[in-house]
Amino acid sequence: MKPRRPTTKVQAILEAADPTLLDLVDHVLNKGLIIDGEVVLGLANVDLVYLRLSALLCAADRLTQAPAARGRRRIAS
């Protein structure tokens, strides 16, 4: 399943702690090729964002405790 396109406001998606979106942020922010671009990000701030992201990922994982059959989840199928 592809990550969903931003059809709704990001805020709304985040409030629903959409695990797909959080996966997406995790991928683009923490992975990908690192080449020395010329805008260098403060590492402390990246860590800060990542801590919040981890917390949300966990929150999303908790949500997935709900029965697997229900709704649009990215369970293997």
Binding site: D23, L33, E38, N45, L56, C58, Q65, R74, I75
Partner: protein, 259 residues
């Protein structure tokens, strides 16, 4: 080093193709210009766009990083462009917020790292990334195991005995679950060209993340990989395990430096 017009060059990804088909390219990050393809020679292109420094300079980005909504919106813009090209050619996705002072600087940098990039392209070409997470609902798993063991008895000894059994059960469960995560990784890795385990973020709740892994799979083998994952997920579901699959992703994990 910045251009006088107050813009930088934002880099989404590198595209490996004789002549990349563009199609209708997505908008990308808010406030950036249309996506352009810069020729780095010998079939390598940079998917780039003008980014106003007022929004994407070091300081605005640092400020923006505190706002997860803003980061998410940027992430979706970035990913939209990368996926657009990934559907048509081999891409090397860049990390979010890769910026250069000018097109020339970006091209120069890519040319300088060309040998490493060619090795990467050979490794990831025609392949996609899939993410697999295995979690355990400890509460459910313990309930499934309960039933055996002494329940009766109101004496202090029986109480202590029961407490010990509960502690042992949790210990055994975690040992077994960790082994299950390892086994799952090994089995799926056999279906993939490359595989990486990441240190899972733990929630501290009843749901324990046992495995957080990425697999690099040939596009033609994707259906088989999905089927294998689904089958393993079904086998595990009965004992409190919960497996999720995400993808296909551009190979973000496999172009990053190994941790």
């Amino acid at each position: 080093m910045n251009r006088t017009d107050g813009t930088a060059t934002y880099l989404y990804c590198l595209v490996h193709a004789a002549r990349p088909a563009t199609g209708r390219t997505p908008r990308g990050l808010a406030g950036t210009g249309p996506v352009r393809l810069l020729d780095a020679g010998e079939g390598l292109w940079l998917a780039a766009a003008d980014a106003p420094l007022a929004r994407y300079g070091a300081a605005p980005i640092e400020r923006g990083l505190h706002d997860l909504n803003w980061v998410s919106a940027c992430a979706m813009g970035h990913e939209g462009v990368v996926e657009h090209f990934a559907r048509r050619a081999t891409v090397i996705p860049m990390k979010l917020f890769t910026l250069f002072a000018s097109d020339e600087r970006a091209i120069t940098h890519v040319r300088r790292t060309r040998r490493r990039l060619d090795r990467l392209i050979a490794r990831i070409g025609g392949r996609q990334e899939w993410g697999v997470r295995l979690m355990l609902d400890e509460h459910r798993a313990l309930k499934a195991r309960a039933g055996r063991g002494a329940r009766a008895g109101r004496t202090g000894t029986a109480f202590l005995l029961r407490k010990k059994q509960e502690r042992d059960a949790v210990h055994d469960l975690r040992l077994g679950a960790a082994a299950e995560g390892h086994r799952l990784f090994q089995r799926l890795a056999r279906q993939a060209d490359d595989a990486r385990r990441q240190t899972p973020a733990q929630s501290g709740s009843g749901l324990r993340v046992l495995l957080d892994a990425a697999f690099l799979v040939r596009t033609g083998r994707a259906a088989a990989f999905r089927a294998a994952t689904a089958k393993l997920g079904r086998q595990l579901a009965g004992s409190g395990f919960h497996l999720t699959l995400s993808g296909p992703w551009p190979p973000y994990t496999f172009v990053a430096e190994p941790a």
